[in-house]
């Protein structure tokens, strides 16, 4: 350590700049931000502006955790103050997922978010929903009640 001058008063010279630039390049190689970081943040922000109610997993079911920590699940039920959504999956011939859902009410628009992509479906009179050819990975649902005054409902992320 060189203490005989005030280091912070020495302007950065070419060598400092070169060191810092190389350091930035090293971190770009070793530990760059995930390529999906921006989109993940923007997606979360877009959901946040919906002012949605967060649904919870029915007690006793596998906890929904962040994608990296989840294990594959076949069937789960989410509850909110006004709505309940049960979903189960089955494999499609091509290895992707068929997702069947039952929601308390017909005519509800429900989005299945696979990553940052929304797949919308509308429940039939029996509350049935169906999505085909969904890729494996973290999934969450957004329920938009028919009543425009009612809050949308967002489920936690679950891995299928």
């Amino acid at each position: 350590m060189n203490e005989q001058f005030e280091p912070h008063q020495r302007p950065l010279d070419g060598l400092d700049t070169a060191i810092l630039e190389q350091l930035a390049a090293i971190y770009d190689t070793l530990d760059p931000p995930p390529p999906t970081l921006d989109d993940t943040v923007l997606f979360a922000l877009s959901l946040a502006t919906l002012n949605a109610e967060l649904a919870t997993l029915l007690e006793g079911q596998a906890p929904a955790l962040r994608a990296a920590e989840t294990s594959a699940t076949d069937s789960v039920t989410f509850t909110s103050s006004a709505l309940q959504l049960m979903v189960s999956t089955a494999p499609e011939p091509d290895g992707s997922l068929r997702v069947d859902g039952w929601v308390t009410g017909g005519g509800l628009d429900v989005a299945l978010y696979a990553g940052n992509t929304a797949h919308w479906a509308t429940s039939d009179v029996n509350g049935r929903l169906l999505w085909r050819s969904i890729p494996h990975g973290p999934i969450r649902f957004l329920l938009r009640p028919a009543d425009p005054e009612a809050k949308p409902v967002l489920t936690p992320v679950i891995e299928f």
Partner: protein, 208 residues
């Protein structure tokens, strides 16, 4: 607190870039003024810095991603409570650091959180996602990395964050790293000087 303005000027000269804090402040102000679409530009502008901050708090990559996301959600939620748009990066940085502490506590990691000098013990390089030797093919970079790794965790954290294109100003760094603002400049200077001493003594290193 002396010379903070000069330091910001130096950083700008260093990067040849408009100051990150100023650009963030402008975007944030216009976002609050109703141009909601500018939030995306703000996110893309600041995310690299926030990422490296989060990782400098010893967070795993997945946790760092969550913490950055949380900071943005808080910002949008509390946008109206931030009086000075110039502080938006400092605000985000502080939120990242606090969240990092919270996450680390939840993970039950044994961390000296009660350390009397915040920023000294809780900063450091997170675990690297891959073997350094394999990732750094360039000999000069491997040498730089080897010497950089000899620095204190605090030095590594500071240099990591300021090496990113457009350094945050000292107030932002101070808030985000939990280091008194008056210490940032001297610490950075000492860290860089120490690293230079190591490097110039090593014939394997060159800036070319």
């Amino acid at each position: 607190m002396d010379g903070t303005g000069n330091h910001a000027g130096l950083e700008t000269a260093m990067t040849g870039d408009t100051d990150l804090v100023d650009r963030a402040a402008t975007l944030f102000e216009e976002f609050r003024g109703g141009r909601r679409e500018l939030l995306e530009e703000l996110v893309r502008l600041l995310n690299p810095t926030l990422w490296h901050l989060a990782r400098s708090c010893r967070l795993e990559r997945a946790d760092a991603e969550d913490v950055v996301q949380t900071a943005w959600l808080r910002l949008v939620d509390r946008a109206e409570t931030i009086r000075d748009p110039q502080t938006v990066l400092a605000w985000l940085g502080t939120t990242v650091r606090r969240e990092a502490w919270r996450v680390a506590r939840e993970r039950g990691r044994t961390q000296p959180w009660e350390n009397p000098e915040p920023g000294a013990a809780d900063l450091g390089p997170g675990p690297m996602p891959g073997p350094v030797e394999a990732l750094l093919r360039d000999e000069a970079r491997r040498t730089l990395w080897a010497h950089f790794s000899r620095l204190t965790p605090r030095c590594q954290a500071i240099l990591r964050v300021i090496s990113r294109g457009g350094a945050p100003d000292y107030a932002a760094l101070s808030a985000a790293l939990g280091i008194p603002v008056g210490s940032i400049g001297p610490t950075r200077g000492r860290c860089l000087d120490t690293l230079r001493t190591y490097l110039t003594a090593d014939p394997a290193w060159s800036t070319q």
